[in-house]
Structure formats: C-alpha cells, structure tokens
C-alpha cells in the first residue's frame, strides 16, 4: 500500500519531522513550517497521523496530559528513506537537465 506519494506529501513531511525525534502535534506543525514552509492545519495533520499510524509507519508514545508524542517506527524510517532517495534522483536529473538547457 502506497501511504507516501511524493516529497511534498503531508506524510513525508510528518515522517521527516519525526525522524529527528518524537514530537507532539504543535511541535510537529512548527517543525514542518520551519523546514518546508508548509503550514499544516490541525485537521490535515491528524488526517496524516491517522493514516501513518494505521500503516504502522509511526506510533504514539505515552503522553503527558492531553498531548501525545509520536515517533517514527523502523518501517516508517525505511519507507521515508526509499521515498526521499527517489525524490533525490528526480531532483538531481531535473537540475542537471535545467543546467544543460541554460548552457545551450
């Protein structure tokens, strides 16, 4: 099942954020905003969290009060790595071709 679709997909943003350590909802939104410029709303964030949790790519940790931190699982890390490597290939080829087109 393809949970992750592209590098700008919310799932990739959430997984990338969690790859630096467990975070709860607000910390996730702020971190994603700082590295990608994308501002996720509470509805879209929990939509992505639900999808990733069901697919076993992230898991909830015991939290304090109403806040529940999430962490990336080993499978989530592997899926994210695969997706980012694919995106990297596309961006390298695209930039090389653009450079070639500008040079000619």
């Amino acid at each position: 099942m393809a949970v992750i679709r592209g590098s700008s997909d919310r799932s990739v943003l959430v997984l990338t954020s969690l790859s630096s350590g467990p975070k709860h909802g607000y910390a996730l939104i702020k971190d994603i905003e700082s590295f990608s410029g994308v501002t996720l709303g509470p509805g879209s964030l929990y939509g992505a969290i639900d999808k990733l949790e069901r697919a076993g790519l992230i898991e909830a940790m015991p939290g304090e009060g109403r806040r529940k931190p999430y962490r990336i699982t080993a499978r989530g890390a592997a899926d994210l790595r695969e997706q980012l490597e694919q995106s990297q290939i596309v961006s390298i080829v695209g930039l090389r071709r653009l450079a070639g087109a500008a040079g000619s």
Partner: protein, 242 residues
C-alpha cells in the same frame, strides 16, 4: 465565538476519531489560536476538512463489510470482492489464512450456491424481527405478528441451509485453482467450503455468463463480475493444458 465554533466542529468528528484524537486535537487547536498572528479561520477550515476526511475513513471501514456487487469491468484485474480499511480488495484474514503459503490470489467474486431463497431466509428472518421493533419506537404500538414470522423464518433458514447446501459464497480464483468460501450476513468471507481445479460455464444470457458449475454445485453470480470469472477460468484451463 471561535471557541464555540471549534467545539462544534470537533463534535462533528466520528466517534472512533474522537476517542483517539479529540483531546490532543483540541489542545493543538487551542495552542494555534493562542498565537498572536493566528489565522483563526484557516484553523477552523482545516478542522472542518479533517472531519470530512475522518468520515471518509468510516465509509471505507463500511466498504470492508459490504461485498461489492459489480466491482469488475473487462480489462481490469480485480484483487477481491471485499475492501479492507485502506480500500484494498481481498479476502478477510481468516479466509486468506486457509490458502496455501505460495498461493497467489487473482480475484474474488460473489455469488450464491443452492437455493437462493433458502440462503436468504435467515437474513429475511432477522429483518422481520428487527423492522417492527424499530417501527414500534417511532410510529405505532409493537405487534408480535412479524417478529414471530421472522423467528420461524430464521429457525427454518438455519435448518434448511445446511440440508440444501444453500449459501452465499465468495469464489476466489487463485494460482492453484478455484476456492469457494462461505460468506456471512455482513459479507465477510469465512470458512472454506471446497477447492476445485476450474469452473464450467453453465448459463449464458445475452452473452454474459450468469451461472457456472462448481463441481456438483451451481453458482449464480452477482451481475457484473461474470465475464471476469469466465475469463480467469478459461485462462486457468488453458494453463492446465499446457
């Protein structure tokens, strides 16, 4: 005002979602709204779209329980007649566990074997019992007539079904042949009934096969999925010849 709207929208989410995420989502929303440069209506719009997404998930869970009546078109390779929570089609886990480890599932098609009226009788009985109960809550005083008929139909159906071998079934076409599974009232595929090498087309109507022979049984197919089973059965047979 905005707090009231947020509480109202959070109340629109489905119950399973509320159990899992309501507390933390309410906490996150409060934090976002407390920011000095908060885009309040963007937060509200996001919550609203999130509730719609959550309800779509419920629809997907519902699809898991319902067999698809006409899932397949010519040219499509199906993956089963039941959906899991992610929308993938396939057999229920209990049925899937009965396949061999190296057996690949090619498709699942729903139908009924034996007498279709007998197969439906227990369900009819349940409807006859439940319907007057619901109606009595809203419209009129409760009457015992229909529930008694329903109970008789239910008992008769449960007795006659095994005697006449009349069941709702799902036929799984696999890499090893054809496997027939019982199907419950909710549409879940259950116990395996039998295995066979292939199916024989039996009744063609306007060029579409509506019945096939499964060993000594006759399977009436749900409309729409028929050509596919025929095509698969032919492919299996020609593969067997080779």
């Amino acid at each position: 005002m905005i707090q009231f709207i947020v509480r109202f929208i959070l109340g629109l989410y489905p119950p399973w979602w509320k159990r899992r995420y309501e507390a933390e989502n309410a906490d996150l929303t409060e934090q976002l709204l407390e920011e000095p440069d908060a885009h309040r209506w963007r937060v509200v719009a996001s919550l609203l779209s999130g509730s719609m997404l959550a309800w779509l998930q419920v629809r997907r869970v519902g699809d898991y329980l319902n067999p698809l009546c006409s899932p397949n078109q010519w040219g499509m390779v199906p993956r089963g007649s039941h959906r899991d929570i992610f929308g993938n089609r396939g057999l229920w886990p209990r049925s899937k566990a009965e396949l061999e480890p190296d057996e690949a599932l090619l498709g699942v098609i729903d139908g009924v074997v034996g007498n279709r009226f007998v197969a439906f009788m227990p369900m009819e009985g349940v409807i006859f019992v439940v319907l007057p109960l619901i109606m009595s809550l809203h419209f009129r005083p409760f009457s015992w007539n229909m529930p008694v008929v329903g109970a008789i139909l239910l008992a008769l159906g449960l007795l006659l079904r095994p005697l006449t071998k009349s069941y709702y079934v799902s036929v799984a076409v696999t890499s090893h042949g054809v496997v027939v599974f019982r199907r419950g009232i909710t549409g879940r595929t259950g116990k395996m009934i039998e295995r066979m090498p292939a199916v024989e087309p039996e009744f063609l109507k306007l060029g579409i096969m509506t019945q096939v022979r499964l060993g000594d049984r006759r399977l009436r197919l749900n409309a729409g999925s028929d050509p596919l089973l025929y095509w698969m059965s032919q492919s299996l047979r020609s593969a067997g010849r080779r």
